[in-house]
């Protein structure tokens, strides 16, 4: 019996080690657990910011529920969408009107590439640069860097050989990597403790730390007046992600110049419509008086020398400040995403109609 129990314990430990060492298994297991009851994840279901700080007062159910368009309209648009987490993971072609094909690309990643396929000139080719306000200054401050990122798929193809050389590992690294995954600590934490059943304990610790010691996860900011959590870099600190970090005219001119250069480049590649869609940081809409808002979005959108078209969601969101953002996540809620899609679909319908008329 003693040997059997020992064997069982060893087998259990090895299984946990193997699963936590393997990124794919951990990912699949986390996905599987996302909507389970007691064994479900408590890190995701209530918003990412809640999952970072576990403050019980800020636990709000969080999920996306958006409508497919189900349109029977003419599919005469190919939509190219550079996006971040606000859109990339949430939308597919069924959410866009008149859309024949949707090509999604994510900032900072190279999963798909924009210009590997020749543009289909029988369709209207619409290119959208969607970016969150917190990334605008980082993405647009350097044109060469941005272009390099936009064309990274091509570059990777051209320099495959170099990439392979850079990734060459020593024999010891080859042995070490599968044995000790660099993320094994966080994977173990996910696999062993990311369960709703532990939520009361996590909230107890978080509440004690916050309400007694005034200590909180370093990436979370609490707006007690609005009962809202913000991603801290968008609210505080000397970072360009911060909605309150001042912007001077020199930087603004540089951003606009980059936008124009990018527009010209892609127009020359044959795109019919090119849009810049800046999604405001939550604090920009919900509580811009928390400090002095730097007016980044309205200022850029007002520049009359911009050649790229602006898809303005800022003005629409400003009309209902508390309606469009999740209270416990750094993203918008279903209503915000739905509103963006509705407004953008109206734009697509107009484009589609223009295309039909031209033909």
């Amino acid at each position: 019996m003693r040997k059997f129990i020992s064997f069982l314990i060893i087998a259990l430990c090895l299984t946990i080690y193997y699963c936590s060492n393997n990124a794919k298994i951990t990912e699949q297991y986390t996905d599987y657990r996302e909507r389970r009851m007691l064994l479900g994840s408590d890190k995701i279901g209530y918003g990412g910011l809640y999952g970072m700080c576990y403050l019980s007062d800020y636990r709000y159910p969080f999920s996306y529920d958006i409508k497919a368009t189900n349109d029977t309209l003419e599919k005469n648009i190919n939509l190219y969408l550079f996006s971040d987490s606000y859109l990339y993971y949430r939308v597919s072609s069924k959410h866009f009107c008149n859309t024949n094909k949707l090509y999604k690309m994510k900032w900072f990643e190279t999963e798909t590439f924009l210009s590997q396929e020749a543009l289909d000139t029988t369709k209207k080719n619409v290119l959208v640069f969607e970016m969150t306000e917190r990334y605008v200054r980082l993405l647009l401050e350097n044109y060469d860097g941005l272009i390099n990122m936009l064309s990274i798929g091509n570059k990777a193809k051209e320099t495959d050989k170099h990439t392979e050389i850079a990734e060459q590992k020593t024999i010891f690294e080859k042995i070490q990597t599968p044995l000790i995954n660099p993320n094994i600590n966080s994977n173990l934490e996910l696999n062993l403790f990311d369960y709703k059943i532990f939520r009361p304990l996590k909230e107890l610790k978080a509440n004690l730390n916050y309400y007694v010691f005034n200590r909180l996860n370093e990436e979370v900011f609490v707006d007690t007046a609005k009962k809202q959590l913000y991603y801290k870099p968008t609210v505080a600190g000397d970072q360009k992600m911060n909605s309150f970090y001042p912007i001077d005219s020199l930087e603004l001119n540089n951003l606009c110049a980059t936008i124009n250069k990018v527009h010209d480049l892609y127009q020359s590649k044959g795109f019919d419509e090119i849009y810049l869609a800046i999604i405001p940081n939550p604090v920009t809409i919900i509580n811009p008086t928390l400090s002095n808002y730097n007016e980044l979005i309205p200022t850029i959108q007002k520049v009359d020398t911009l050649r790229m078209k602006i898809f303005d969601i800022y003005s629409i969101f400003k009309q209902h400040p508390s309606a469009f953002y999740a209270k416990s996540d750094s993203h918008w809620n279903s209503a915000g995403l739905q509103r963006w899609l509705d407004e953008f679909n109206e734009r697509l319908k107009v484009i589609s109609k223009q295309n039909s008329n031209n033909l």
């Binding site: 010891f172 042995i175 070490q176 600590n185 304990l201 107890l204 610790k205 004690l208 007694v212 010691f213 005034n214 200590r215």
Partner: protein, 430 residues
Amino acid sequence: MSFIPIYILILGFTIVIDYYAGILIEGAKGKARLTYLTISLIANIGVLAVFKYYNFLFENISSVLFSFNLTNPIPALKIILPIGLSFHTFQAMSYTIEVYRGHQKAERNFGIYSLYVMFYPQLVAGPIERPQNLIHQFKEEHFFDFERFKSGFTQMAFGLFKKVVIADRLSMAVDYSYANISNQSGLSLIIATTFYAFQIYCDFSGYSDMAIGAARIMGFKLMDNFNMPYFSKSISEFWQRWHISLSTWFKDYLYIGIGGNRVKLPRWIFNILLVFTISGLWHGANWTFILWGAIHGMFLIIAKIKNSIIDKLKLSVFKHRYFLIPNMLITFALVCFAWVFFRATSISDGLEVIKKMAQFSIYDNISLYFYRYELLFCFLLIAFLMVKEKLWLRINTQKNSYFYLINFIILFSCYLFGVFNQKQFIYFQF
């Protein structure tokens, strides 16, 4: 300091050298014994010198040459200090020295000798064991014993408590204030330095508790490494209670070897300063550690002179029990003074801390990155630690219900009050 699997080869190298050195020393006679011992010591100290001290030496030579507008022709090495190198090197050296002295038989079983050097609970941060204490235990059969398990587990649990609840919480204030010395008040730095004294104690003794407890669960008895050091009434007593395995190592293998205290006063002063300076250097390749060691040496010398004056003048009043607590407080203050240089990143930083501390006022602002309740909580933790150690050094776990309750409370406290910022153990860097 880093854990790099390839560095296991370094350990393998010293193990092979010392294993054969032990056998050869035992089999040889006369000068040959000393030759084999010397080879073994050179190999061990050589590894330590290359990985730990080469770049330190390089930087110092370079800066001296730079002041003469010269560049150092010898290149720096791009190497990282392997984790726990100083610990297992010293443990390996104690084996060959003991075989040479005839206190320990050379181990013929390569596996057992390797296990002696690499016994995992104490491999990276001690206690630095002696072969007489450990090797024979590897040859004995060990059975599971629930009583031993209970006491070992409880010691491990309390070691974890010391690390994640006390040391890592105190470290937030210490790191903050020592990173912004110029913006800190004298009072803040005094509190931060006091916190550091308890941080390093809980960090290191917490690790030792976990190592000793883990070994005990498996049936092995490791030597104690700490014995309430902050209750010491003098610096020499402090060194009998702090990092016992290292201080006895230096005493047995270096201090006594160079004459100990059976020499004339000037030579004794030299011996003390040498041992403590080397002890400081053992901790790290930085002048701050060397100065820390030298300060402790100076304290011992001053204490000896003071004691001889008291004896000569027959001032026995100073030995009265009323002086116990003042002596403890003075000793603690002196230890804290030395910790300043241990913690500071440079001697100039250390001097600035001392200067600011000397100018403190009770009305100074306290800005330690702590909300007032957390500051109060830290003082409570320290008070709890002191009371616990004084009144209840070994947690009694004979009754099963007691064992479960105590460990539940300790581990739940670790979870609830623990700071999990993935902070390494301080002594891992040595």
